[in-house]
Amino acid sequence: MKPISTGSEWTFDLIERYDAAIREIAHGEFHLDTYPVQLEIITAEQMMDAYSSVGMPVNYQHWSFGKHFVQTEKGYKRGQMGLAYEIVINSNPCIAYLMEENTMTMQALVIAHAAYGHNSFFKGNYLFRTWTDASAIIDYLVFAKQYISRCEERYGIDAVEELLDSCHALMNYGVDRYKRPQKLSLAEEQARQVERENYLQLQVNDLWRTIPRREKDGASRAAPRFPSEPQENILYFIEKSAPLLEPWQREIVRIVRKVAQYFYPQRQTQVMNEGWATFWHYTLMNRLYDKEMLTDGAMMEFLQSHTNVVYQPPVTARWYNGINPYALGFSMYQDIKRICEAPTDEDREWFPDIAGTPWRPVLEFAMKNFKDESFISQYLSPKLIRDFRFFAIRDDDRDDKLEVSAIHDEQGYQAIRATLSEQYNLGSREPNIQVWSVNVRGDRGLTLRHTRHNRKPLDEASAQEVLKHVARLWGFGVKLESVDSDGTVQQRFDCHPEAAVASL
């Protein structure tokens, strides 16, 4: 077959032909299931714009996005960093950005990586299937942007900005980790919003009713505990129960919460998602080359940039900055494929159910049903541990030295697998803070509780700062207790709303 192109310049026609060729392989040979693809050609400036509004084509306005923009622009202009490899949006159709400055080969790479790799991950992975609604997100953001700018007109930029600052501080605590959220769509959202405003305010008023209800049996009982169980979704709790918020403020809290929820699966599947996309751009581009649709030169260019992407600097390198999710994810999928196709005795022992079976269904299963944490604990093989020369270090403040707890040997495989898996567990990476109680009958103070994991304390300065934001939202005093596994309180933070307003 003739190569699709020989030069490095791209044209719309060539992009179309590459896309068709890649689609043919992805759908026809490998049966990847994807959303329809929308490729958008943009300039470097537009890429920076997209970058700074967390990759979304529309978003509400806030200074923090401006800060990211300024940062990106600075880095880019000084040549300290290249721009995004690609930006792809979990929407239906799946939008992938191609940057004008790229060569034809890079465009093909991005198409394979984003428009087929990420795209099929978004459509297949269980977290995305349950927690996000690809067809509604753009609509919802349009609604959010309009709503927030209306609020700015009515209540002033400062009031809205303050509120958003406070919500952003709690963004990681605005997600439901276990309860499945409702789908959102623009029309419904608008229709329900007014109704919700009225209803919510009613609920809150009832909770904070000051005239005591006449007790039927005449006896006064102890105040019921509120909330009846600890609440993990702090923003949700604030939206529903904060006594002083206006209805529009509750709606904005809700918007931030919904956006946080939308991004939550991405934060849990970094290794899997990037690895999957990288695996597929590698496989698809190689297939193109095998079919002689790529020139040798294009293949070299592709391999060079692929190699850069999956490079893992060792811990001793000066530019070491943790584990590269592209490298780990890509190697793991490659390794699963290897185990299926050419298992060793070790593989047969560790992975009896997949060794020697067809690789495509196994890979599909792995992509669909895991998140980083469980993916690693299920599939990280001894061979990979050896290849990466992984070792685990235990840092215990009761010990004056660090200890190497496991290395890439027979005794260490299990431990390294477990430790690495834990490292990707959002639940233990972020402090576990929940709404503990509200003093309903007294000063209306809110108490949050941090449950310590491995005795790790809270960072004091930032906790104090965030608490001010909580106090601003709640409107009354807020306490935060950090509790050890045996239930004793180790750290206490306290914040009065007046103090919060004064210092924020």
Partner: protein
């Protein structure tokens, strides 16, 4: 089939609003940085962007995270020498090496968040203090003034600009050109028909056929439109920069002991403003710095603002020096001469009358504009009264007492109001 969309022509400044929000939030810090920059910069170099840095702790967005302590296990790649049970000394500092993954969590380094203010943004902040009217701001920030002049005709434009004569002339030419071949055929066909009719033979069908052809050709000629969008011509106007020329600006400052840093800073803003004004109106500007106490010297900008002197004050020395320089270097009438003088009002009593005389006789007739500011909180002294007399007679002499930067602009009010009359 995938959808391919070219978005390159969509607006690229989607983040402009966010950037503006960002600047708005950190106004105080940015103002401070701009203030510092003005102190540090040469006045001829005021017209560019500036790098601003803001302490990271002011700009960070807080979130809950773990502090140091407790137990943590980390996996790292690239083991070279360790075996299980090895004990390593804890690395000092933010946990690099031993806990590279943690380093980012504890991002409370001392590095400032630095970024570049664009020229416009810089100027906006600079102007803010000076309380300039908006019109003046645009005048100073805008690019050179343009004049719209006629420049022939174009093929597209707005209906209001259609040139009727040109369009119809074009249409006529087109009609002639397009009809010509058909008309020739028509003529031939008619002649053909005539010869046929003249011959006696019975050729009815042939005649009918010729007639049909003539009819068809006539139709064809009629179908040529009277006027076509293609014929339209529009009057073309292009913008041309207004003619500009050269100016010289004299900065005269009293550097006697009583002029302290803050007064000099105020004076600098005054000079900058005049410079900016000149820059908009003249292509080439030279700046002459004259400083004086009891005697005057011409100095470099560096020395002008930064060296310290002490002693008494004789203002006329500076005016004399300016006069000499004007005579020597700028006497031919190609130069527009502007002068800005800053002082705290001190002068030898007997010298003030002298100043008034020099001003009226040998400086003002040559100058386009002379601005004087007195930076003082106290009562005006005799120089002020002397200058007041001068101001009565000359409209292009402006003076003002200045307590804060906002007082500077009124000195120039007259200047900004009128267009400078260039002499060349």
């Amino acid at each position: 089939m995938s959808n391919i969309i070219d978005r390159r022509l969509n607006g690229k400044n989607k983040s402009a609003v966010n950037r503006e929000r960002f600047l708005r939030r950190f106004k105080a810090q940015i103002k401070e940085a701009v203030g510092k920059a003005i102190k540090g910069r040469s006045i001829t170099d005021i017209d560019s962007g500036e790098s601003v840095s803001i302490p990271v702790k002011d700009i960070s967005e807080p979130s809950f995270h773990h502090g140091r302590g407790g137990r943590s296990d980390q996996v790292h790649p690239g083991n070279e020498e360790f075996i299980r049970g090895d004990r390593i000394n804890r690395p000092q500092g933010g946990g690099a090496g031993g806990g590279g993954g943690k380093a980012s969590n504890e991002g409370e380094g001392e590095d400032d968040f630095a970024f570049q203010l664009s020229r416009e943004e810089f100027m906006n902040v600079f102007f803010e203090d000076l309380a300039l009217p908006n019109l003046i701001k645009t005048q100073l920030m805008g690019i050179e003034e343009m004049k719209s002049v006629r420049a022939g005709y174009t093929n597209d434009g707005t209906p209001a600009n259609i040139s009727i004569v040109r369009s119809l002339r074009g249409a006529l030419a087109r009609r002639v050109a397009m009809a010509a071949p058909t008309l020739r055929q028509l003529r031939e066909a008619e002649e053909d028909l005539d010869t046929l009719l003249e011959s006696d033979a019975d050729n009815g069908p042939e005649v009918r056929e010729r007639r049909k052809r003539i009819h068809a050709l006539r139709e064809k000629v009629n179908r040529i439109p009277f006027i076509d969008p293609y014929d339209l011509r529009y009057n073309n106007r292009i913008k041309q920069p207004k003619p500009t020329s050269q100016a010289v600006m004299f900065c005269i400052m009293d550097v006697s002991g009583s002029m302290d840093e803050s007064k000099k800073d105020m004076a600098k803003r005054f000079f900058i403003l005049l410079y900016l004004f000149l820059q908009r109106n003249y292509e080439k500007i030279e700046v002459v710095f004259i400083r004086h106490h009891t005697s005057a010297v011409e100095v470099s900008e560096q020395d002008f603002f930064h060296s310290r002197e002490s002693g008494g004050t004789v203002v006329s020395s500076a005016l004399n020096l300016m006069h000499d320089i004007v005579q020597k270097r700028y006497a031919n009438r190609d130069w527009n001469i502007y002068a800005a003088q800053a002082s705290d009002g001190d002068n030898w009593d007997s010298d003030s009358a002298n100043c008034g005389r020099i001003m009226q006789e040998s400086l003002l007739p040559w100058c386009q504009y002379f601005a004087y500011i007195e930076i003082t909180q106290g009562e005006p002294q005799n120089l002020w009264y002397e200058y007041l007399k001068v101001a009565e007679h000359y409209k292009h002499f402006a003076m003002q007492k200045i307590g804060s930067p906002a007082d500077i602009y009124p000195v120039f009010r007259e200047l900004f109001k009128r267009q400078p009359a260039t002499r060349s």
